[in-house]
Symmetry: C2
């Protein structure tokens, strides 16, 4: 054993542990080494050699493109980033006062939020698991704050929930009562000796003990009668007020309502706490890259065609303002445009490669920020951040801001929808979308309409240089097209969230860039 | 019904609703009125009349005393606050560079944390339910940030947990697996028709659906095989890495370990999210009051005796620096010293009142802040805030800071203990306490000892002007002594967390002050 551990690298050893003992042994081994549940991709690849004397043209100044550019510059490459927009970040955008957006065929929207208010209408969350994204917030000294992604005090409001339809329930009420009733049911089954065949007497005793605790069952009769974690009828206070407990929702009502399905045993990856957001807006990350890349990014420069030869790559570009055409030549190309856009660009990729690009679909996604002149969700309902869960058509979630606590105003995310909902609502004008969102929100919050001041909305599938929220692979695509795209073609490599298993996340873009520059560097040094 | 609602006040109507339909009807009614689960005490009492021409002496510039003083001044009273310490806040303290503390019979400690680092060694959390505390943070424009009070990614580390002893488990692993196994067990009972007597076929179907979802059971066989919310063996990433799931802990091991008892169906009141802390330290609240009260607070002024006559109150005081004795006279007295201290002061309270003061015990409580030169809990283990739960003797919890994310250094709460543990550890010198905490912490975090730089500890039961963490009432005390103390005696009223059902919380002190000044104002205007 000693010889094994000394002669093998940790990685090799872990692979053997996994092969021999499955992931349980793997985890225990990593645990013993202080590696946590698993190592994470928390830093760019450490590459040897140099890029001196070689030029790489990067297409797109989104997070993938800028990550690649930033790291390639460090390796000595000459780098030029072509960006069609007048600003960097790709989907990593924040709308604040003066920010403009014109969707394809749509009106020009100019954000009218008050100073200090904003909406992250692209990515808005940095999960703790996304160490790659956190790596750059550290590198760029971007202050973070907690993004409240789970709030049991927020409303659950369902229109189609049987006996609990159209009631504002706290998520905590649903969780406490559903789990309490379930614990009672199982505890009574144990007591009735129904589980003698499944569990030893010792385990039955331990299970009862657990259920009493988890479900707050009364020890004497194993009945769930509510608990203070679900909220008080009258909360305790000073003087002669010990508080008055509240009564639980009925088990049958809860079952019939199906509201228990708004939560699960634990938040699924990567949604669990602690979730972060940059102080002041997600675009701080984009700015962090852009500031450091400076003039290496050519803004307002739209890619017209992509050509390569055995010696190099030629990109035909158009200056968006002047319409002037020109060419950019480089030894290598890192193409970090979304596939939704890239597949519309004239190129000399092989037919096979072009077909691969077409085999992924892009998610229709819409968001709207509603500036409220009063933070009624805090003041009236004591909801601080988190999401209101609802089945109202086209809304999906209403999210409350995790910044500006107790300030006067705030921007509420009025909807965050995908697929057909997103397509339908995106056909509306900005004003109609706002009315749609307000009309839904006021069913839950009486002060919603009166507090509403102005809105900023986006339908990502209608945004020219994105044409969708994120890549959505199906099984067949992952098997056939995905490896083709990963390999790149000739002197061109691709990068982006679409080439990861973290699609729709900034970490996907960053980690894809890390991986692809490693490949590009290998090729360039071959 | 119409006549009823128009002729009754809301409060009266709610009382009737509660009487007629229990708290379910009460809640529904309040819900319908947009009052949330319950109204909260979110603002000081609106008092009519004036205090002009009357003087109140307030004993103690803790939160209760300062709340009372601040509101009484607004009513027109002449107010003088006597404070033995050189600073205001009572237990609302923050230790940062230069802060000193000398416990009774102990060494002088001077905090040596680096600039920007601190520990809230008194109150450290503001629950969303404590609208009274939040009220003053709004009044005083004190910026808040989220205090991560629940972190499923933090370690659970038990020394006495059977088969899971001395293993670092993520709370999420325990929750996911325990709930998964329990869901499987119940689902199989349903499937085996064991619950036909308890549930209708419809409810059984709905329950199965819920359990599959909550417990992540495989639909085909209702077996729990783990889920990504418990963590990955290898997390998904870019390129060809879809991630590798991790295996669940066994049901029997979990039961035998009893670790399921570290959580319950929901966080109990008032521990649930969203929890807050003032940016920069809890003493911002104390400062907010102190700044506004200015010279109305006489610092370094220790109360020697309390006397009253039908006409007024006379407080004998000693200047702590000079030892000079003098008297303060007033029409009324609001005594906001802890009972632990007040009962040691010479007074002319009745024997009955003195006995009442003695019938409450004060909690021995200890905390220690350990400055770490590296945030290894974030860097190595991806734990951002929250508590490490452990059964290690004398530790109870190790808490990670919710500020300074990703900065270089940080202050860890190395223990937070009560009762016997607190008494035992408080007998140690500051250096020995630090060693005690470090020796425990390094069992969980390999980098603990190497990263440790310096410490600041407090044992509240050994702090001269507190003599305990908070009041702890038993049933008999609540019934007999508590109402006596609430009523005050003659021209003296008491206030503090000890006169609330929120003992140990700042909200208890504030709400008690609100209640008692209302009584005092009534008496003064009678």
């Amino acid at each position: 054993m000693k010889r094994l551990t000394t002669s093998l690298t940790r990685r090799e050893f872990l692979h053997r542990a996994a092969a021999v003992g499955g992931s349980a042994l793997l985890l225990n081994t990593m645990n013993a080494w202080g590696m946590g549940i698993a190592s994470r991709t928390g830093a760019p690849p450490a590459l040897s050699g140099s890029g001196k004397g070689k030029k790489v043209v990067v297409l797109g100044a989104g997070l993938a493109g800028m990550t690649a550019a930033y790291e390639l510059v460090k390796l000595g490459y000459q780098v030029e980033v072509l960006e069609a927009r007048g600003f960097a970040g790709g989907r990593c955008q924040t709308a604040r006062k003066g920010f403009t957006l014109q969707e394809l065929g749509g009106e020009m929207q100019t954000c009218r939020f008050d100073e200090g208010n904003y909406i992250n209408h692209g990515p808005w969350r940095i999960p703790l698991d996304h160490q790659s994204t956190l790596y750059y917030t550290r590198q760029f000294d971007i202050p973070l704050e907690v993004m409240v992604n789970d709030n049991d005090h927020a409303w659950v409001y369902m229109e189609d929930a049987g006996p609990l339809s159209k009631q504002r329930l706290r998520a905590a009420q649903v969780k406490a009562d559903m789990r309490g009733h379930v614990a009672e049911l199982l505890a009574k089954s144990v007591q009735a000796r129904m589980l003698d065949a499944s569990l030893t007497p010792d385990d039955q005793r331990l299970l009862l003990d657990y259920l009493e605790h988890e479900g707050a069952l009364r020890k004497t009769d194993l009945v769930y009668r509510g608990r203070n974690g679900r909220g008080w009828a009258v909360p305790p206070g000073a003087g002669l007020n010990p508080g008055q407990p509240s009564d639980p929702l009925g088990f049958h009502e809860l079952l019939a309502s199906k509201v228990g399905k708004v939560y699960s045993a634990v938040q699924e990856f990567p949604m669990h706490a602690t979730m972060f957001q940059p102080v002041g807006g997600m675009d701080q990350i984009a700015q962090g890259f852009a500031k450091r890349l400076g003039k290496k990014i050519r803004y307002g420069t739209e890619v017209q065609s992509i050509r390569q030869s055995p010696d190099g790559v030629t990109i035909a570009v158009k200056d968006v303002k002047s319409g002037k055409l020109s060419q950019v030549k480089a030894d290598w190309c890192l193409c970090a445009m979304p596939l939704s856009v890239l597949r519309t660009v004239d190129s000399d990729f092989s037919d096979n490669f072009k077909a691969a690009m077409k085999s992924v679909s892009y998610a229709p996604v819409g968001k709207i920020g509603l500036q409220m002149k009063r933070r009624f969700w805090e003041e009236d309902d004591q909801i601080y951040g988190g999401h209101v869960l609802t089945d109202m058509k086209g809304i999906n979630t209403i999210s409350l801001p995790s910044s500006g606590w107790q300030k006067k105003k705030g921007v509420v995310l009025g909807y965050y929808h995908y697929a057909l909902d997103a397509i339908e609502v995106s056909a509306l004008s900005p004003a109609e979308r706002a009315e749609f969102a307000v009309a839904a929100g006021e069913k839950i919050f009486p002060a919603y309409r009166d507090s509403y001041e102005n809105a900023f909305s986006v339908a990502w599938h209608r945004v020219q240089y994105n044409l969708g929220g994120w890549a959505e692979w199906d099984q067949a695509g992952r098997e056939k097209a995905y490896p083709t795209l990963l390999a790149g073609e000739g002197r061109i490599m691709l990068a982006g969230e679409h080439l990861s298993y973290l699609t729709g996340w900034q970490a996907g873009a960053i980690e894809s860039a890390w991986q692809q520059i490693e490949q590009l560097h290998k090729k360039a040094n071959a």
